[in-house]
Symmetry: C2
């Protein structure tokens, strides 16, 4: 058993609410002794953290689907880690777990907070550490239940057209590959030729539109690649891309609102979808997804997706930044579209 007394843990704390892009001064780096988790508790050493667009929302004041991170608190983050101390019969030293580890080197969980933090043992034979933060983790679960439960692609009428933005991102790669596996026509939207090429050549999407290519590339691309219109649109970005897709949806189309990365750093109001009346004309639906609602079915989706990974039907790509001190810049990479694949912060190698 590791001697807790000797363990120090670095943390990244939120000390100021950002306006727009999160600048360096909203963060504070601290180092503290690891707290004793007490009877029934465990201590987890963080191996890698998931860097997600949703984090930007957690930093704002105000009501959302979960409370904001309190000022002074360690920044919230999901991650994968190794149990280094256990006073709980359900966990033993060496177990690999995922859950709410937050941006710190060690997370100490009193017994009552183990479940609340979503700590779950995982099997590295099903996927690598970083895949457990990607296809087998929250992004994968979001893509899975967003597409299947909210988007409801018609699986008997093969060939429905699914469009997904942020196609090279964590959620996007899951959504697109899963839709292909289920028999849909899949068109991605991503930023830059490199990402688009990868999405088509490696992931097998039918096409991918480079929204950075020109101001009209999304409009032209949808016309070219979705000749029969759009049945399901999985939206990770909001803004102008959402507006453009709304002009191409089919009757009874389903739009899954998963995020709006284009709007998260706005200092003014969000741009609402000005073409929303297309929902009326097309008797279409726009619906939000929050992955936590599906927690009791994660295990089913993980089993299915691990099978696809094993059989080579699904691939995953992670973009790994190393070092807890890189957290602030890693987060901002997301909003500049600089990451290629699921963005992961490697905190410790083992």
């Amino acid at each position: 058993m590791t001697s807790l007394a000797s363990l120090k843990s670095k943390q990244v704390r939120l000390i100021k609410r950002p306006i727009g892009v999160a600048t360096a001064d909203v963060w504070q780096f601290t180092e503290e002794a690891v707290a004793d988790p007490g009877p029934g508790g465990i201590v987890v050493k963080t191996l890698a953290l998931s860097i997600d667009p949703a984090m930007r929302g957690w930093m704002n004041e105000g009501k959302s689907y979960i409370p904001p991170v309190e000022l002074g608190a360690v920044m919230r983050a999901g991650g994968i880690g190794r149990v280094v101390e256990s006073h709980n019969d359900n966990y033993k030293e060496g177990d690999i777990v995922i859950g709410g580890l937050d941006v710190q080197e060690y997370a100490s969980f009193p017994e009552k907070s183990i479940k609340r933090s979503g700590i779950t043992k995982v099997d590295l034979r099903a996927g690598s550490e970083t895949q457990w933060l990607n296809v087998l983790g929250m992004p994968g679960m979001t893509g899975y239940f967003g597409l299947m439960d909210v988007g409801q692609p018609n699986l008997t009428k093969q060939g429905e057209t699914v469009v997904v933005s942020g196609a090279a991102g964590a959620v996007g790669q899951t959504v697109g590959q899963l839709a292909k596996i289920k028999g849909c026509r899949v068109v991605g939207i991503a930023g830059g030729k490199e990402k688009c090429d990868w999405v088509v050549k490696e992931l097998g999407f039918d096409a991918c539109i480079d929204y950075k290519a020109s101001p009209s590339s999304v409009k032209a691309g949808l016309k070219q690649h979705c000749p029969e219109g759009v049945d399901v649109y999985f939206d990770n970005v909001g803004g102008e891309i959402l507006d453009t897709v709304l002009t191409r949806i089919n009757k009874k189309a389903r739009i899954i609102i998963c995020g709006a990365i284009s709007q998260y750093n706005n200092t003014t109001a969000v741009n609402g979808p000005k073409n929303y009346l297309s929902l009326l004309v097309n008797r279409a639906r726009m619906e939000g997804i929050v992955v936590f609602d599906y927690a009791d079915r994660y295990h089913l989706a993980v089993t299915e997706m691990a099978g696809y990974l094993r059989d080579g039907k699904m691939k995953s790509k992670e973009d790994v930044v190393t070092g807890i001190e890189k957290f602030p810049e890693a987060l901002n990479m997301l909003f500049e579209g600089k990451n290629f694949g699921k963005l992961v912060l490697r905190v410790a190698s083992a």
Copy 2:
């Protein structure tokens, strides 16, 4: 049988596409002999026409749920009339019918266009002529299927809160009264004290918010009258009211997009709902309704609603403007919120 040769019919034709509010110069008044409907056809004398917000959309160029009215054509309108000549065994002189009569004194239907124009015999014992354009007509059907099929109020969990805008209008009065009958808590939004009082005192809504009372009256009113949030919002208006309701919706709320009367005369882009990410936070849904999709079930809804009218459980109010020459100003009344109840244009008394 009326002598067709002697019959002249006045028409109102669309000769120009309006930009913003429809001005007098977009209309042309003509008078022509009534066309012979030919074998199997019928001639219908228009008694009253339904004046609807959707008409403004039909006047615009471009793709919608039905093609725009062609320039030079008689303006499209639904109405109620009396068969004055029939060469068809299914209709006899004196039958009362509803359907696409258009803005003219007499409508001549060749056999093949009777069905296409939605001509349906009606029974004046179930409702008056104007009620057949209101609760028993398109607005009533829109309210019925929009609320029940798209809004899906939870009828086992009594007391869900339904909010409806345009509450004193044709669709709004149906939605609100029906939701009350089904056991929901109902809050209307309407313009002016007189309409709000009527909605509460005559129609039995639990409350009605006067959006004209002050710039913050909708926000304050929702807070006061929907202490447990909004489960179903039936939107007839769009714009700021939609945005404000979005801040008060409950988890898994359903928003029915029926229209956006605040936006139809815009000369610039529609204002998209800038709070649409509330759909994400609340895992809520926004979905369009087009009444024509439910044509095969109209008869069921009419039977149910006629029963409510007969039993006094449902009331209806029509605002009647008389004279075909008043059509242009009647249409504009809608967008100024000047009508009180379903707006009807009386074209002939019998």
